[in-house]
Symmetry: C2
Subunit: 305 residues, 2 copies
């Protein structure tokens, strides 16, 4: 059988900046995967369907309806169609409560899984709840804190297979804005690293979080007045911003059972930062967790509704 | 006599985002002023002369060399030509140490006043030193701290007519990036205000600076999950960022003699923030201070060199 004949459904992780799809057979074996930089942030609601068809079209067949199940910012207010939120404390979404996306193409049936929201201490997530679902699929009895760093870092208390509470930090977005759009772009490299600089800045930000405000422009000034390298400045900026996040999340990591789910490179930086606080934390790659979470949603979905 | 015949020299404040010129007669009376949004950030080194001539050309005459004296980011590494720095502790620049800008136009003689730098705790300023010079012209015996909020807030210890030390905060630039370029742009208004929201956020950031990292995304979430207004979010964002700056500058304002020099609208917000800490602080408009500082520089400059 050709791949197209074996396709049963398609899993989609559609975030702010990227789109990634996994093509599955009836046993959830991966037949193919594709990715694109056509994230939700660059699209108008009317453009999503064409972008999706451009990426998955080769796997569709006339006379067959292929289920497509999506998570992430595609379900945000500025996305394709606004999907629901499940309130915490609560289980990360299964196939229930999915939002059906109206489509004119008879080859697809598109659903978006709900995000999660927190009403007291207002917070929201779209995408990470599916990572949590995938992680819990492998470790259903996990009790502790999942750290999901990225554009918007999420710290989630997990207990009895529920997300009890969570908190979001704009660390990754702030880092990107400062490196690409602020005056620091002249002084901070986009690659390269310096362990000692990272460690010093991190520890300074954790113990004196207010100093971050002053140290940021210092990165620029040090390159003008002194001879600091742009690579050290990059590590220093990471240390300051992650340190500020760790200062604010102390109750999430002090004496807690902690696991990181993230893109491996980002996850390793956070693991290093936490190890400097005396915590040995395992890092799970976020992508397989998302895929597992989407499989769990697919398995419990009622496709007739 | 026509205005052009009465022109003796031209003062120029050329910052990151704006250009402002004042046309002066022999007694430093203002004959005309012009402004433009052709700030240093949008220009290549080769473009500055044409932009300047476009703005001041109507005031020049053939057969006469008009001195033009500039301050601000025009003298930065990415500006027209790199001007010197004077190290602190030191007097804000007089006419000494100006950098002459090579020009092919015989009608102008352009000079840029130096900025100031701090080597221990690296820091730099370009433009604010001229505000300090202007302020000290009117209050030569001032002993205390000048606060100059803006894109990059500067806090400067002044004593015996010298800048003793200073520190820079990226508060204004961070605010602009978050409002215009981050996910918060969907939840924060560009105008409007809410005093109570400002005061609550400010006091929270001063007492728990690390909480700022968590509260930022909260502005977005509150607008999705709750019914918070975008105007309140704007005041809250200001409160968080200014509060973080005040938490870091405690030694600059606690028990100090303080004066603000700023664009009036920004200055009033900082004055309000400081009044909530029990400090009554006077606000001076930055523009006249800059002009006075440039006049002081002109008066002491040796034009023959």
């Amino acid at each position: 059988m050709s791949i197209v004949e074996r396709v049963e459904w398609i899993a989609v992780d559609w975030g702010t900046s990227n789109l990634r799809i996994w093509v599955m057979d009836g046993a959830h074996a991966l037949l193919a995967e594709r990715s694109s930089d056509q994230g939700m942030a660059g699209l108008e609601p009317t453009q999503f369907e064409a972008v999706l068809l451009g990426v998955i079209g080769e796997f569709l067949a006339l006379g067959r309806v292929t289920p497509v199940i999506c998570c992430g910012m595609v379900g945000a207010k500025q996305g394709w169609i606004e999907a629901d939120y499940i309130a915490v404390p609560g289980k990360p979404p299964s196939g229930a409560c999915v939002t059906r996306v109206p489509s004119d193409d008879p080859r697809i049936d598109v659903r978006i899984v709900p995000g999660m929201k927190q009403v007291t201490q207002p917070d929201v997530m779209r995408g990470e709840e599916t990572q949590v679902a995938g992680f819990l699929h492998g470790q259903p009895k996990f009790d502790g804190v999942l750290v999901m760093p990225g554009t918007h870092s999420k710290w989630a208390h997990i207990s009895a297979a529920e997300i009890v509470s969570f908190q979001t930090f704009m660390t990754g977005e702030m880092y990107a804005l400062l490196v690409k759009k602020s005056v620091l772009k002249h002084s901070v490299a986009v690659t390269g690293w310096d362990d000692a600089a990272f460690e010093a800045s991190l520890s300074e930000a954790i113990s004196r979080p207010e100093s971050v405000a002053a140290k940021l422009f210092g990165l620029r000034a040090a390159s003008l007045v002194g001879d600091h390298s742009e690579e050290a400045a990059r590590a220093r900026l990471s240390g300051l911003l992650i340190g500020l996040e760790l200062a604010a999340t102390r109750s999430y990591w002090l004496g807690q059972n902690l696991t990181i789910v993230a893109a491996p490179e980002v996850g390793e930086v956070y693991a290093k930062a936490l190890s400097l606080q005396g915590l040995q934390v395992q890092v799970y790659d976020a992508q397989p967790m998302t895929r597992l979470g989407l499989i769990a949603a697919y398995n419990t979905m009622k496709w007739a509704t």
